[in-house]
């Protein structure tokens, strides 16, 4: 197929995605700042001890990496199951009334071989009509108020472990949901897909 022959394309390319794994993270705010790029909040993971693990709302396992359907394989590979090691420097910068930019780093450790898988990703947070009011300080709203924002990321993964080399060869997409409680980002859950 000559790609550009004959002028503009009149058909869309296939846009398949393959589900890989999901993960849940409890968040802790490390600080807020207003810099040249706008308003920003820096987040990191926190342990579940004494935290906001509320299975009554949505089944949620802090730091778990799992397959939603508990499948043991993904395409020809073992499914990725394990724990989230670290989440750092996830920042939210307001760049539009209803959208914020996200940049983050995450480390995953697999349960089977203890392989460490790293990703540095960018993405966006869809704030909807509430906008930055999601993050209004606690004093200005009911502390128990809980809002949610869709999170979208475009990660690629890196690992030195040969068993998971296949993952490092894929461009991935993450569809997530961030929960903001009392004006503070408290957790998110993400489904990771590979583009195919």
């Amino acid at each position: 197929m000559a790609i550009l022959a004959g002028g503009q394309r009149r058909f869309l390319f296939e846009k398949s995605v393959v589900y890989l794994f999901s993960y849940d993270v409890l968040l802790e705010e490390q600080g807020r700042n207003t810099g040249p790029l706008g308003w920003c909040v820096t987040l990191s993971h926190r342990s579940s001890a004494g935290g906001d693990d509320r299975p009554d709302l949505v089944p949620f396992r802090a730091r778990a990496v799992y397959h939603v359907l508990d499948d043991t394989t993904v395409e020809d590979n073992d499914a990725i199951v394990g724990t989230v090691g670290n989440v750092h420097d996830t920042a939210v910068v307001a760049c539009h009334d209803t959208v914020a930019a996200v940049e983050g780093r995450i480390t995953i450790q697999t349960r089977d071989e203890g392989a460490l898988i790293h990703s540095h990703y960018k993405g966006s947070l869809s704030l909807g009509p509430l906008g930055l009011a999601h993050f209004e300080p606690l004093a200005e709203q009911r502390p128990e108020r809980e809002t949610r924002a869709k999170m979208f990321i475009g990660p690629r993964f890196e690992t030195a472990h040969p068993k998971y080399k296949w993952l490092a060869e894929r461009q991935c997409a993450g569809f997530g949901l961030m929960t903001i409680r009392g004006g503070c980002a408290s957790r998110y859950t993400v489904d990771i897909y590979a583009l195919k």
Partner: protein, 181 residues
């Protein structure tokens, strides 16, 4: 221990526009660097176009990008494991005279032994008669100071594209951009 989530989150994608790039403007073979080969490819100014494949001009009531790519380049890194990492920046001047910046990274898999073929140039892949079409996947974001296109700012998108190789050189690329929502 509580159970994990048993349902998938919504993963809607909305088509935005497509971008065709003519990559024959210039190529800089930086050569071997740690872990692979760096190759810079630049698009021909004003010979590359953004358009809607399906002829739409708006999505969610917002204006879609259509116009000419005035500048663009890919600072690609071909890894020894036959994976090429893309690092693309481009500027589109829309038909209504706004400027939209496109920036993305992504992955191109040109096939088994493609890295060896790139460095040895034997055999070269793709010919004028039978070009090699390789698939690539990207995660773009857009930026514009023009209020008509500000709705795109910061939104995470995905791209599904093809690139045409002739004599082991990337000649033309075309990609569909989808917004995650």
């Amino acid at each position: 221990m509580s159970s994990h989530r048993r349902h998938f989150l919504d993963k809607s994608l909305y088509y935005l526009f497509s971008l065709d790039g003519n990559l024959e403007y210039g190529r800089e073979d930086i050569g071997f660097v740690s872990g692979g080969v760096r190759i810079n490819a630049h698009s021909v100014p004003r010979d590359s176009r953004a358009y809607s494949v399906v002829g739409e001009t708006r999505v969610f009531g917002e204006k879609l990008v259509a116009g000419t790519m005035v500048w663009g380049g890919d600072w690609a890194f071909a890894r020894e494991d036959d994976i090429e990492l893309l690092d693309v920046k481009a500027l589109i001047r829309t038909d209504d005279n706004a400027v939209v910046e496109v920036e993305y990274g992504g992955v191109l898999a040109a096939g088994p032994r493609s890295f060896r073929q790139v460095i040895s140039e034997k055999p070269k892949f793709g010919s004028e008669q039978n070009p090699l079409d390789a698939t690539f996947y990207v995660a773009p974001r857009f930026n514009s100071g023009d209020p008509r296109y500000a709705w795109l700012n910061g939104r995470q998108c995905l791209g599904f594209g093809r690139v045409k190789f002739i004599e082991s050189l990337a000649k033309q690329a075309t990609v569909d951009f989808w917004m995650m929502d």
